[in-house]
C-alpha cells in the first residue's frame, strides 16, 4: 500500500434528522479549509433548495477534504453524505458500502432514535468503524453521560471515548477529525490489480452525459482509460476523472481507495446503474463487486396535469427527474375523471411529496395527485396472481379469491410515558404486537407488524402528534399477508369518480367512507346545483352527503364607478375555478383528491 492510499479515510455520517449532521459537515469543511467561512453557504452538502428548506438530505454527495493531522501528516478525507429519512434507507446502504467508517451523531439531549439505530446496524453489517459523536453538548438540556450509556446499552458500542461536540458552536471539530484519522482504517485493495469501481450514485449533466460517482476498490482509472460496465458489458472511453472539493475538479487519476467521479460520454443514465462495477475493458476484473439490492417502490399514486395540455410537459419533467433519481418509476395511465396522467411509484411518502414539489416548483406544473396506495397482490379464482398498483384496477369481486397486502416490521422508539398512546395507535392501525424492550428506564422500543397501507395513510403524523413529537419510527418490508380488503368508491352527482377510489380493510370501510364523504362535502365548493356524494362498496351505498347549491353570488351594486372593479372581481373568480378540475358537471379542487389522507384528523 502506497503512502497516498495509507492516508485516505473514507467516511459517512449517520444521524437522525435535526441531530446536526449538516452543521457538523459544514464545520468539517470549514475547518479543513475546503471552504472559507466567508465562502461558506450554510449547509453546503444539502444543495437542493428543497433539501435546505426541509432540513433533510435526499441525494448523496461526496466531498474530498485535505486534513493536516496532529501527527504531522496530511490525510485525504472523503465524506460521503447519507440521507437521514426512513424513505431513503436504500440510499444509506449505498453510501455505507463506499466507506470504511462512519460518524454516529447523537443529540446530547434526545438520545438515539429508531432511524439512527437502523442505520448503525446497516453500518455494522458493512464492517464499518463507528465513531460516536455526541452533539449539541452546549444545550442546557444536554446529558452526554446518559447518552453515552444509551449508546453502550442499545448498540453495544464502547462510547467511553465518544467525541463531545457542538457543531453549531464549533466545539470538538478537531477531535472529530483526529478520531477519523486514528480510528478509521485506510482503504484496502491493490492499485496494481484490475480495476474495480463501485458506482454509488449517478447524475445526468446535459453537457457531459451521465456522470458516475465511484469508489475505486482496486486498480486505478484515468482519462483515456477504456472502461466496461460489468452488468451490461458496454464499454466507454473515459473523458474526465475528478473529485468534488467540494466544487468538481479534474484529477490525473483515481486510484485505489479514492472517491470521485468518472465522465465517459455516456448518453444513457441506465448505463451507469447504481451498484454496478466499472472495470477496465482491456484488463477486466474477474468478478464484479457485491452490488445493491434493486430498489422497490412501496407507494404509488397518480399524477395528473390540471390542464390536459400539460401532459407532455409532465412526461418530460418526469423523464428529467428520473435521470437523477433511479428510484422514481412511472408509467402512463388514464383516469375517467382526470384524463391522461402517470402512475408513479415512490420509496415512501416523503419521496412522493418531494417529487411532487419538484415537479411543481422546478417545472412549473399544476398537478393533481391522487391518494397514495401500496401494491396489492390479488389471488384470482382462476389461480392467476395479479399485482394491483391502482385501486381502479382491482379485478371484479367474483374473480377475487383473496387479496394480500404488504406488511412491515415497524420499530418505534418512544419515551416510556407514551407507550400506551403508541400501542393504542398501532392497535387502531391493525398492528400485531411483536416485542417491547426497555432500552433505558425512560425509553422503550416497541416492535409491531403493521400493514404498510396504514403507515402511508397517516401513521407517521398520528405517531408524532400522539407522542408530542418524541417517537421515532423505522420500518422494513417483511412480506405479503392476506387481508379482508374491499374497494371503496365515491360517486359525485351519481357518477363514479375513479380517482377517489381506495382499497380499505373491511372493518374500516364504513368509517372511512363516511369520513371521506364528509371531507369531500367540505372541500368541494358549492356549485350551481345540488351535488350528492355517495360512498359505495360494490352496489351498497354506505354513506351519503350533499353539497348544497349556491344560493347567492351576486353584486348588488354596479354603477359607473364600479364597473372595472366588478369585472376584475368576476375575472378573479373565474381564474380561481380554472385551478379546479372539471369532472363531469362538477368542479373539484386539487386538494380534494388527497382528501382521504386527512380524514382521520
Amino acid at each position: 500500500m502506497g503512502m497516498a492510499q495509507a492516508n485516505i479515510r473514507n467516511f459517512c455520517i449517520i444521524a437522525h434528522i435535526d441531530h446536526g449532521k449538516s452543521t457538523l459537515a459544514d464545520r468539517i469543511l470549514e475547518y479543513t479549509g475546503a471552504l472559507t467561512a466567508r465562502e461558506m453557504e450554510d449547509q453546503v452538502l444539502d444543495s437542493m433548495d428543497l433539501e435546505r428548506e426541509r432540513g433533510i438530505t435526499i441525494k448523496l454527495q461526496a466531498v474530498r477534504l485535505q486534513y493536516k493531522a496532529k501527527d504531522g501528516q496530511t490525510y485525504t478525507l472523503n465524506l460521503i453524505d447519507t440521507p437521514g429519512h426512513v424513505d431513503f434507507t436504500y440510499e444509506v446502504s449505498r453510501s455505507l458500502a463506499a466507506c470504511e467508517g462512519a460518524l454516529l451523531i447523537v443529540d446530547a439531549a434526545q438520545g438515539i432514535e429508531a432511524q439512527t439505530l437502523a442505520n448503525v446496524y446497516l453500518a455494522l453489517e458493512n464492517d464499518l468503524e463507528i465513531i460516536p459523536v455526541i452533539n449539541k453538548i452546549d444545550l442546557p438540556s444536554a446529558e452526554p453521560e446518559r447518552v453515552k450509556q444509551e449508546i453502550e446499552d442499545v448498540i453495544g458500542l464502547d462510547a467511553s471515548d465518544a467525541v463531545l461536540a457542538s457543531a453549531k458552536s464549533g466545539i470538538g471539530i478537531e477531535e472529530v477529525l483526529e478520531a477519523i484519522v486514528k480510528k478509521i482504517p485506510a482503504p484496502k485493495g491493490e492499485p496494481e490489480e484490475p480495476l474495480q469501481c463501485l458506482i454509488f450514485d449517478s447524475f445526468y449533466d446535459i453537457y457531459k452525459g451521465a456522470i458516475s460517482y465511484v469508489r475505486v476498490v482496486q486498480g486505478s482509472v484515468k482519462k483515456g482509460s477504456k472502461i466496461q460496465m460489468m452488468s451490461t458489458g458496454r464499454t466507454f472511453e473515459v473523458t474526465e476523472v475528478g473529485v468534488f472539493a467540494p466544487a468538481p475538479r479534474q484529477v490525473q487519476e483515481l486510484s485505489t481507495g479514492e472517491v470521485g467521479f468518472i465522465v465517459a460520454s455516456i448518453k444513457n443514465v441506465k448505463d451507469t446503474r447504481v451498484g454496478d462495477t466499472i472495470t477496465n475493458a482491456e484488463r477486466p476484473a474477474a468478478e464484479p463487486l457485491a452490488g445493491y439490492r434493486q430498489v422497490t417502490p412501496m407507494v404509488y399514486c397518480g399524477l395528473y396535469p390540471v390542464e390536459g395540455a400539460d401532459y407532455e410537459d409532465l412526461r418530460d419533467a418526469l423523464d428529467k427527474l428520473r435521470l437523477n433519481d433511479a428510484s422514481l418509476i412511472y408509467e402512463p395511465e388514464t383516469s375517467v375523471a382526470l384524463g391522461f396522467g402517470f402512475r408513479c411509484g415512490f420509496l415512501g411518502l416523503l419521496h412522493m411529496e418531494i417529487i411532487q414539489e419538484r415537479l411543481e416548483r422546478e417545472f412549473d406544473l399544476d398537478l393533481i395527485t391522487t391518494a397514495p396506495n401500496v401494491i396489492y397482490r390479488v389471488n384470482q379464482t382462476d389461480g392467476e396472481v395479479v399485482l394491483v398498483d391502482n385501486p381502479t384496477k382491482l379485478p371484479p369481486n367474483q374473480k377475487i379469491e383473496s387479496i394480500e397486502e404488504p406488511y412491515v416490521k415497524a420499530s418505534i422508539m418512544v419515551p416510556s410515558d407514551f407507550v400506551g398512546a403508541v400501542m393504542e395507535l398501532c392497535q387502531e392501525k391493525r398492528g400485531l404486537f411483536t416485542n417491547m424492550d426497555y432500552i433505558t428506564n425512560q425509553r422503550v422500543m416497541l416492535v409491531y407488524e403493521l400493514p404498510l397501507a396504514e403507515i402511508i395513510f397517516d401513521f407517521f403524523d398520528q405517531l408524532k402528534s400522539r407522542t408530542k413529537g418524541y417517537a421515532s419510527l423505522d420500518y422494513e418490508l417483511i412480506g405479503y399477508r392476506v387481508s379482508e380488503l374491499v374497494k371503496l368508491d365515491i360517486l359525485l352527482n351519481g357518477d363514479l369518480i375513479d380517482a377517489f377510489s381506495i382499497i380499505v380493510h373491511r372493518d374500516r370501510a364504513y368509517h372511512r367512507g363516511r369520513a371521506l364523504a364528509e371531507k369531500l362535502r367540505d372541500l368541494i365548493p358549492r356549485q350551481m346545483f345540488e351535488v350528492p356524494i355517495q360512498a359505495v362498496i360494490g352496489n351498497k351505498v354506505i354513506a351519503r352527503e350533499t353539497i348544497k347549491a349556491i344560493r347567492k353570488n351576486v353584486l348588488a351594486k354596479c354603477y359607473g364607478g364600479d364597473i372595472s372593479r366588478k369585472r376584475k372581481l368576476l375575472e378573479k373568480q373565474k381564474e380561481g375555478k380554472k385551478r379546479m378540475k372539471q369532472v363531469g358537471s362538477v368542479e373539484i379542487p386539487q386538494e380534494a383528491f388527497m382528501a382521504v389522507l386527512s380524514i382521520d384528523q
Partner: protein, 394 residues
C-alpha cells in the same frame, strides 16, 4: 386627449360630491367632512373642470341625464348645485336633458333647499333610507330618524318632485324577515316611483368588514337573505312595481335613465374627485383627493388621474354582456358583437355558451338576446363569469 371625441347619444354626466356628515359603517365610497367654505370651493372647481372639458368632447346632443352622487350631494349649497347644472347646460347643451337626480340623506334635506334644486332643473330625488328600524339604522351608522324620512318625502312632494327613489338594505346582521317586510311596507306607504334594494356587502376596509373579521358582529344567514330578496320581489310586484335590474324596481316608465345608461354600457363623463368616466373603450377616474382636485383646478393644472384603462374590444364587449345581464330584459349578443366589431368566432363562442346555459334553465336565450331566468338573479355572478375570457380559451 388631443382630438375631439364623440359621445354616444344618451350619455350621462355624473357629479361626485364627496362630503358626508359622518361615515356609514358599510360605505366604501370616497367621502369626508368639509366646511361650507370648502364645499363652495369644491363646486367652483367642478364648474371649472366642466368648462375646461368643453373642447375635448363632441357632446353635440348634450347629456340625457345628470346625477349628483356621493357622498351626500344634499350637503352641497343648493345655489352651488344650480351653478354646476348651469355650467353643464352651457358647455354641453341641454335640449336632450330629461333626468337630473340628486342623492340625499333624509336628515340633510329641507323644503327650501329642495325647491332651489328643482328650480335649477333637478327632477329626481334618491333618498338613502336603508331601513325603518332605529336599531338597524344605528348599526349601519345612519344618523337620520324615521321622522326625517317622512319629512324628506313630504318636502320633495311639496317642491314638486314626483320622481322619488328610496334605497333599502337587506341582509343586515340582526335584521329579521319581519323587519324587512315592515321596511318594504312603510316604504311603499310613502308612494315612491322607484325602489333600490341592496344586499349589504362588507366591502374591504369598511368598519363593517372589520367588525366581521374581529367577530364583533355576526352575519345575516344566507338563506334568510335569499328569502328577503324573494319576498321583496313578490311584494313589489303586487304593489305594481316592475323589476328592471337585479337590485332595482320602478313603476312602469319611472326607471332611472342615468343608471340604465351604465347597464347599456353607454358613455358617461364624471366630474369631481374620484368620479369615474367611461367613453368608448376608455375608462378613467379622477384622483380621490378633493383638496388636490380643488388645487389643480384653481391653479389651472391638469386634474390628476387615478385609474386609467384602455380596454380591448373583446373585454369591452364582455363588460357589455356582464352589465346587460343585470337587466331583466337581458342583452342582445348580436348587437354587442356588432357594436364592438367582433367576428364570428366570438359570436359562436357566446352562442354555444348561451345554448348550454339555456339548456340548464339558467338563462333564456332566443338566438340573439340572452337574459337571466329570475331563479338565477341571485347567482348572476356564476353566469356572468362564464362570458368573461371565453375567447382566449378557444
Amino acid at each position: 386627449m388631443p382630438t375631439v371625441q364623440p359621445l354616444k347619444q344618451g350619455w350621462g354626466v355624473y357629479i361626485h360630491i364627496p362630503f358626508c356628515r359622518s361615515k356609514c359603517a358599510y360605505c366604501d365610497f370616497y367621502s369626508h367632512g368639509a366646511s361650507e367654505q370648502e364645499r363652495r370651493e369644491y363646486a367652483q372647481a367642478v364648474i371649472r373642470h366642466i368648462a375646461g372639458e368643453a373642447d375635448k368632447w363632441d357632446g353635440a346632443h348634450g347629456p340625457t341625464t345628470v346625477f349628483f352622487g356621493g357622498g351626500t350631494p344634499s350637503l352641497l349649497p343648493p345655489e352651488s348645485g344650480r351653478a354646476i347644472l348651469k355650467q353643464i347646460r352651457h358647455t354641453f347643451g341641454d335640449h336632450l336633458l330629461s333626468e337630473v337626480t340628486i342623492e340625499a340623506n333624509p336628515g340633510t334635506v329641507t323644503g327650501p333647499d329642495l325647491l332651489q334644486w328643482v328650480r335649477g332643473g333637478c327632477n329626481r330625488l334618491s333618498l338613502g333610507v336603508q331601513a325603518f328600524q332605529p336599531r338597524l339604522l344605528a348599526f349601519l351608522g345612519r344618523k337620520h330618524s324615521l321622522e326625517d324620512v317622512r319629512g324628506a318625502v313630504t318636502a320633495a312632494k311639496q317642491a314638486g318632485l314626483s320622481n322619488v327613489n328610496l334605497d333599502l338594505i337587506y341582509g343586515i346582521p340582526g335584521q329579521s324577515m319581519e323587519d324587512w317586510r315592515l321596511s318594504l311596507e312603510l316604504a311603499l306607504d310613502l308612494e315612491p316611483a322607484h325602489l333600490s334594494l341592496y344586499n349589504l356587502k362588507p366591502e374591504a376596509g369598511t368598519p363593517l368588514a372589520l367588525w366581521l373579521e374581529r367577530g364583533l358582529t355576526g352575519v345575516c344567514p344566507e338563506d334568510l337573505e335569499v328569502e328577503m330578496y324573494e319576498e321583496a320581489r313578490r311584494l313589489l310586484h303586487l304593489a305594481g312595481f316592475r323589476q328592471y335590474e337585479l337590485s332595482n324596481f320602478a313603476r312602469p316608465g319611472w326607471e332611472c335613465r342615468h343608471n340604465l345608461n351604465y347597464w347599456h354600457r353607454g358613455d358617461y363623463l364624471g366630474f369631481g374627485s374620484s368620479a369615474a368616466s367611461g367613453v368608448g373603450l376608455r375608462r378613467w377616474t379622477w384622483a380621490a383627493d378633493s383638496r388636490q382636485y380643488v388645487r389643480a383646478l384653481s391653479s389651472g393644472c391638469d386634474v390628476p388621474i387615478g385609474d386609467d384603462e384602455m380596454l380591448t374590444p373583446v373585454v369591452a364587449a364582455e363588460e357589455a354582456v356582464m352589465l346587460g345581464l343585470r337587466l331583466t330584459k337581458g342583452v342582445n349578443l348580436q348587437e354587442v358583437l356588432r357594436r364592438y366589431g367582433l367576428g364570428e368566432r366570438q359570436g359562436s363562442c357566446w352562442h354555444k355558451l348561451s345554448t348550454i346555459l339555456h339548456g340548464k334553465g339558467w338563462v333564456d336565450y332566443d338566438g340573439s338576446r340572452v337574459k337571466l331566468m329570475p331563479e338565477s338573479y341571485l347567482v348572476a355572478n356564476e353566469i356572468m363569469e362564464k362570458y368573461l375570457g371565453e375567447e382566449s380559451e378557444n
